[in-house]
């Protein structure tokens, strides 16, 4: 990957899907380039198509028309195994509701992506611990999600997203379930990861003051991006 290759390049991406027999045109021609090291916020009301865009960016779904290059690799023609491999290595997800496995310790949650990457057990544990310590959770390694606060759970989720050293962090309303003080903490962590480690972040939110933490704000409306 050369320095000039953007992490994300979307060109003329359309997506339609059928919902209860009605065709929904969720994306109507998206062009977007995100360079390495950028922190981009995508804003939009519900129904604007931002979730669909997020799914495509996260390789959970593929474009109906148009092309998507992630780190220079075209993903449109990839099969489900190849998409799984990309999600595993290139993308880290953070969700609004954390999506941690219940009744599973923080370390076991964080090491999960490494299981699918084929890393052996000792190395998985070592890296999961290191990542949790980096998130300030060194004392909470064996805690289950139910024993952690919302902010702590989101840090575990962040550790899980970053343990595979992905090129891109995708955050879908990461502060939606957190109080304002904890939200600020998480956003400060994002800014630190972006500035100190050069992590590329795409943040999806409907709140302008959250989006304001990003370096660039984009607005989605009716399946189109407005710069």
């Amino acid at each position: 990957m050369s320095a000039t290759t953007p992490v994300i390049r979307l060109s003329g991406v359309h997506k339609t899907y059928a919902q209860d027999g009605v065709e929904v045109h969720a994306l109507r021609g998206i062009d977007l380039t995100v360079a390495a090291g950028e922190f981009v916020a995508i804003m939009g009301a519900s129904g604007s198509g931002k979730s669909t865009l997020m799914h495509i960016l996260g390789c959970l779904d593929v474009p109906g028309q148009g092309d998507y290059w992630l780190n220079g690799q075209a993903v449109r023609r990839l099969d489900s195994d190849a998409l799984a491999a990309i999600r595993n290595r290139e993308i880290g997800f953070v969700f609004q509701n954390f999506n941690l496995l219940a009744r599973t310790s923080a370390v076991d949650n964080v090491e999960m992506p490494l299981v699918y990457a084929g890393v052996d057990k000792a190395e998985r544990q070592r890296r999961a611990r290191a990542e949790l310590e980096r998130m300030g959770l060194g004392e909470r390694l064996a805690h289950h999600p139910s024993q952690l606060s919302g902010g702590q759970q989101q840090r575990v989720a962040l550790a899980r997203a970053l343990v595979t050293r992905p090129a891109l962090l995708l955050a879908d309303e990461p502060t939606g379930n957190l109080d304002s003080a904890t939200s600020r903490e998480i956003l400060a962590l994002f800014a630190e990861l972006n500035q100190r480690d050069g992590l590329t972040i795409v943040l999806i939110t409907h709140e302008p003051d959250i989006a304001a933490h990003a370096g660039r704000q984009l607005h989605m409306h009716d399946g189109r991006l407005e710069h």
Binding site: L60, D81, A84, R87, F93, N99, P113, V115, Y116, K121
Partner: protein
């Protein structure tokens, strides 16, 4: 994904729902256990029947005199006096006949010094040991010459020896039978209980002629046991003997036989057949419960897939391929059925042994039945685990993630 990791994952997921996993495995445990126990009971019964038939001499024909008609009264089988030792000698000359043993029997009180014992005295010829597949423990058996001379000797069964002699060696001693002093020349080996629970060792054998003339005052015989060379020989001897005896007894065309003839080989094969039907019946009833156990696995795995839809979505988002998810759920089903199978094997063997020691059932644990039951359990795990696992792996990641 690494195999050991996948297995660990499966065990951990099951461990999270311990009670549920246990109850699901219980279906397989009971299924496998009952297959093994039932087949052990069936095989035990088969073996017991086979041994009893061998004991009887399965290629044997048995002749008894028929009923007689005296003044309009038909008496029962054996009441006639039509069979003689000469008949037996004539049968011995037939092809395919190995041994012929004419016998008479009577009850007698046996006396030895201070003790006495009521038993049966059977008058026999040396062929008796062959047709009954019996042997001697000590001493010797009487010869044809001793039979011809009606010598006063006898051979004792184990029970008689125990009751009359205790620990004394009876060979060479004299017992009194119906006032006659008989020298004991041999002791029969232990034969055990007969088919109807009778004690076969409670017997005294004496030369046929001695019993006929000196004890009973008769010249006919009660029965003639014929040993044929094989099953086919028994079948042909069956016909030959009828033809021969009808001629010897001068029976007219249309007149009924004055003797009865039974083919034990036929009895044997039908008994063997019913024993094997019995064994398979038990086995198949038990395998139905194994099948029900398998359906239990499928049921629980389907519930589990639905419950863990979100987990499946998360795993897919984090890089699990479809086959990783498929294997995760298939392995859970396999671990359930595998552990259920192992515990079932242990419990089945234990139950069979317990049944063998506390009941009348004869138990024979057949190694192939253990292998069969266990592999059947594993197959059931794959078969009933595959559908839920496919269902899990075919979920769309987005749908699964959104699932509430």
């Amino acid at each position: 994904m690494i195999w050991t990791t996948a297995l660990q994952l499966a065990v951990r997921a099951l461990w999270r729902n311990k009670v549920r996993a246990l109850l699901t495995a219980l279906g397989v445990i009971i299924g496998v256990g009952s297959v093994i126990t039932m087949l052990a009971v069936g095989a035990g019964a088969q073996e017991r029947i086979a041994r009893q038939l061998e004991n009887l001499g399965s290629n044997n024909l048995m002749l008894r005199s028929g009923s007689s008609l005296r003044g309009g009264v038909r008496t029962g089988a054996g009441s006639n006096t039509s069979l003689t030792r000469a008949d037996a000698e004539a049968i011995r000359a037939l092809p395919g006949v190995l041994a012929v043993s004419p016998t008479v029997r009577t009850g007698a009180q046996a006396l030895y010094r201070g003790s006495n014992w009521g038993t049966i005295v059977e008058g026999v010829t040396p062929d008796y040991l062959k047709t009954r597949s019996w042997g001697l423990e000590s001493g010797e058996f009487f010869s044809e010459r001793q039979v011809a001379a009606a010598v006063d000797v006898c051979v004792l069964g184990r029970t008689v020896v125990r009751e009359l002699f205790g620990l004394v060696d009876p060979v060479g001693e004299i017992v009194i039978l119906k006032g006659l002093a008989c020298r004991v020349i041999g002791v029969l080996s232990e034969k055990g209980a007969g088919n109807w629970g009778n004690d076969q060792d409670d017997i005294i054998l004496a030369p046929l002629t001695t019993v006929q003339r000196k004890f009973m005052g008769i010249s006919h015989v009660d029965r003639i046991e014929v040993q044929a060379a094989g099953k086919a020989a028994a079948a042909s001897a069956y016909k030959e003997i009828q033809r021969l005896l009808r001629a010897r007894h001068r029976l007219q065309e249309g007149q009924a036989n004055d003797f009865r003839i039974y083919n034990r080989a036929e009895l044997a094969s039908s008994a063997e057949e019913s024993a094997s039907v019995f064994a398979w019946l038990l086995g198949s009833i038990a395998s139905v419960s194994l099948l029900v156990g398998g359906i239990g696995i499928m049921n629980i795995m389907l519930v589990s897939v639905t419950e863990r839809t979100r987990e499946i979505g998360i795993r897919m988002a984090l890089g699990a391929r479809r086959r990783d998810i498929l294997w995760q759920f298939l392995l859970e089903a396999l671990v359930l059925s595998g552990i259920g199978g192992l515990v079932g094997v242990a419990l089945g063997i234990a139950a069979a042994l317990l049944l063998g020691s506390f009941s009348e059932f004869e138990i024979r644990i057949v190694p192939w039945s253990v292998a069969l039951a266990f592999s059947f359990a594993a197959m059931i795990g794959v078969f009933f685990g595959l559908h839920p696992a496919r269902k899990a792996s075919s979920l769309q990641p987005i749908e699964a993630l959104r699932y509430e």
